[in-house]
């Protein structure tokens, strides 16, 4: 019996590799730009499409889904074929997957600067793209499971298990977090409101980190690290244990993102407990990785790819230890909303995801081009400048995190806030922002060097598009007597089963969804909380479009330091009409939940036109285009109808009258501004935004008694 000859598809790997590099550079470049904008607002080039609020999501999406995403597919398509001793299931699907994914990214690059966003962090893309993502993901799934089914190696190596987990979980998460009600091709409202929406978002948000940035990379680590070091993983047993433990705990850890929010206390504590429990499996993985190199540190000294791996693993260890720490309420009280979080995620992203990706690229490109790396010198230069970059990035961010976090909380002996003016705390950390952008520059430089290095490598070699390999076919074992350990009558069933059960979930999801669609929520309702007026609703959507939520939270935690600064702490009941919630996760600027009525309309007008007029030194960009652009009221009706569908109690048929009310309210504001000698037409966007800002939190102010 002759072994079967077959060919590994290296072309697809190469393509994903190129995409990784290109999008990596793009995403990091955008990151650098917004980093600079934080101390030089004018870096938005006075252009709304390149303003922080709009391109910060572009940065996160580009880095997570474009850079890391493509890297994952590169790693999976390379290792899966070899682990399964089979070519990818279908070249067509591979191509579809590749181009589909690039299409998604491009559409993100187009829509996000246009302000087309759902404002759900890491899920900003609007519903048509969500659907596209789903389709491409399913294609990827079919391709992967197809390959697993036609494999020639009986044992499914632990890496593949990590890939499977990634696929299944991300699929569910994505769908659950994208349940939107479209009102137009580019606009939709989240089905859930306020607290519930927040819970879904962070259940997603956390697990996205877990299953998009961690599990696939762990899988790749378990394949590429042994290959690079040419020695088996320290303990394969441990790796299997690691996998199952991680899988079963991760899924629960979401709620810790909502500590001190209006999420029920027990749900928060739950998040904490499980986040803590996560340390064990995470470190299990790291230790397993590092111990693999025990006694081979000489190799590490002169092999740059291993250097990258080691630093990457260490970064992973630090991040996975810091995460649970941050979920402790006391720590979180200081860290949340500050740059500490930024530092935390970037240690993970730059160290773990970035460095592992680079290591894999340096190892894999020469192999598929059957040549040596063009320059080891450049590679190790990349390593050092990259490491330096991480340090220059993380340390200032931690520093600024602590500084600002503590300043917010500081009281004078007289019991007054030491820094009542938020701006003071911002000014204090500007130097850190400068340093951070330097760190970013260093890191990005490294990536450019890598791109050059890999390009040269590619030219000097020749791509082995189809790499020959041979293996014995996996013989069908049905014929064998029962009770034997090779007996695999159900060989292929489980995978079908896995897919089937996925479908079952989705169905189950929507079945379960029905009750929640008709929000029979037991969120304590507050009598005085009324739906937004049409103008406010429009204003709110502009607030979303401009991505204000990226810098301004709307979530006052029950600390004296916050109630002193912003006013009454948030109640779950206040958000029942917020589709989507806009709590935010970072306070580059002050919280806005109780903004309503704090300042006059004219203040807001001037402040939006040029923040520095009102508060010198502010790092907020000018929003002068709001004054120029005309408010599009054609959508008002549709929006009201959608809200009604979602259970917002507008009177029946109000969608007809909505624009009349809108004009009246707008007129009022325009007149009020006129009194301050500000000439502005009532049909400008700025009017709507002011209306919304003036409304924020006023319901509670109206009657404190309604609080419970």
């Amino acid at each position: 019996m002759q072994p079967e000859k077959f060919y590994y598809d290296n072309k697809i790997v190469r393509n994903f590799g190129i995409a990784t590099v290109i999008w990596g550079i793009t995403g990091m470049l955008v990151g650098l730009i917004i980093a600079i904008q934080l101390y030089r607002p004018e870096m938005n080039m006075g252009n709304q499409y390149t303003t922080f609020g709009r391109i910060r999501p572009l940065h996160t999406n580009a880095v997570i889904f474009a850079f890391v995403g493509n890297a994952i597919f590169m790693g999976i398509y390379y290792s899966l074929q070899r682990l399964m001793k089979a070519r990818m299931f279908s070249d067509t699907l591979s191509k579809l997957h590749f181009w589909g994914w690039q299409l998604i990214i491009v559409s993100a690059v187009v829509t996000l600067p246009l302000g087309i966003t759902t404002s759900h962090e890491y899920a900003e893309l609007e519903w048509p793209i969500d659907i596209l993502i789903t389709i491409v993901w399913v294609i990827f799934g079919i391709n992967m499971f197809g390959t697993i089914i036609k494999r020639r190696e009986r044992h499914i190596y632990v890496a593949v298990w990590f890939y499977i987990a990634t696929f299944v979980t991300v699929a569910v998460l994505h769908i659950v977090n994208s349940i939107e009600l479209p009102i137009s091709f580019t606009k939709s409202y989240m089905v859930f409101a306020g607290v519930q929406d927040a819970l879904v978002q962070w259940w997603y948000g956390h697990n996205a980190v877990a299953f998009f940035l961690t599990t696939p990379y762990l899988g790749m680590m378990y394949y590429f690290l042994p290959k690079m070091a040419n020695r088996p993983i320290y303990s394969y047993k441990l790796s299997i244990l690691h996998f199952w433990a991680l899988i079963f705990i991760y899924i629960w850890a979401g709620p810790h993102h909502l500590l001190y929010s209006t999420l029920p206390g027990w749900a928060q504590s739950l998040g904490v407990v499980f986040s803590i429990m996560l340390i064990a499996p995470s470190w299990g993985g790291m230790i397993n990785g590092l111990l693999t190199l025990r006694g081979a540190w000489d190799k590490v000294r002169d092999d740059v790819t291993l250097k990258f791996m080691v630093v990457g693993l260490t970064a992973y260890g630090m991040a996975t230890f810091e995460g649970p720490m941050l979920s402790l309420k006391q720590v979180n009280a200081i860290g949340h909303f500050t740059d500490w979080i930024i530092a935390h995620v970037h240690v993970g992203a730059l160290g773990w995801n970035g460095f592992l990706t680079f290591a894999i690229l340096y190892w894999l490109i020469p192999r598929i081009y059957k040549t040596e790396l063009y320059s080891k010198k450049l590679a190790s230069f990349h390593f050092w400048i990259g490491t330096l970059g991480i340090l220059f990035y993380a340390i200032p961010m931690y520093w600024s995190g602590f500084t600002q976090g503590l300043m917010w909380k500081e009281f004078t002996p007289e019991g007054m806030l030491k820094y009542p003016n938020f701006l003071e705390t911002t000014m204090r950390i500007i130097p850190m922002y400068v340093m951070r952008s330097i760190g970013g520059t260093l890191y990005l430089t490294g990536v450019f060097v890598m791109a050059y290095n890999l390009y040269k490598t590619a030219v000097q070699g020749k791509l082995v598009a189809d790499e020959a390999a041979e293996a014995m076919p996996l013989e069908r074992l049905d014929q064998h007597a029962a009770g034997e350990r090779w007996h695999r009558r159900l060989e292929r069933k489980p995978i079908l089963f896995l897919v089937a059960s996925l479908i079952v979930i989705l169905i189950g999801t929507f079945v379960e969804l029905m009750p929640t669609l008709t929000i029979s929520s037991n969120v304590p309702t507050i009598a005085s909380v009324k739906p937004y007026s049409p103008l406010e609703l429009q204003g709110r959507d502009i607030y979303i479009r401009e991505g204000c939520v990226n810098c301004h939270s709307q979530q006052i935690r029950p600390f004296r330091s916050e109630t002193e600064r912003y006013g009454e702490y948030s109640k779950a009941g206040e958000f029942v009409y917020d589709h989507p919630f806009l709590w935010g996760s970072k306070r580059t600027g002050p919280d806005l939940q109780r903004e309503g009525g704090k300042y006059g309309n004219s203040w807001h007008y001037n402040h939006l036109m040029d923040p520095r007029l009102m508060s010198p030194g502010s790092i907020m960009p000018n929003y002068d285009w709001l004054i120029r652009q005309k408010l599009d009221t054609s959508t008002t009706g549709a929006k009201i109808r959608a809200m009604q569908k979602l259970g917002v109690p507008y009177p029946a048929g109000y969608d007809k009258k909505a624009n009349r009310d809108l004009d009246i309210q707008a007129k009022g504001i325009a007149d009020n501004l006129a009194m301050d000698h500000i000439k502005v037409k009532s049909n400008k966007e700025i009017i709507a935004v002011i209306a919304y800002l003036q409304r924020l939190g006023t319901d509670i102010k109206a009657n404190k008694t309604a609080n419970n």
Partner: protein, 53 residues
């Protein structure tokens, strides 16, 4: 907070899938030999010359 029913439902269902997967792996001897596979993945290509001393 009816959303919690929903989320717990999803999570439990997910966990169940993985439990099923684990059972499959166990029943199909995926965990019978927990050493050799880790070596096997290293043997699928020609070893490079500098790897041998």
């Amino acid at each position: 907070m009816s959303i919690i029913y929903f989320l717990i439902g999803c999570s439990v269902l997910l966990a169940l899938i993985f439990l099923a997967a684990f059972f499959w792996a166990q029943r199909h001897g995926q965990h019978d030999d927990l050493y050799t596979p880790s070596v096997r993945i290293l043997l699928d290509e020609e070893p490079e010359s500098e790897q041998k001393k």
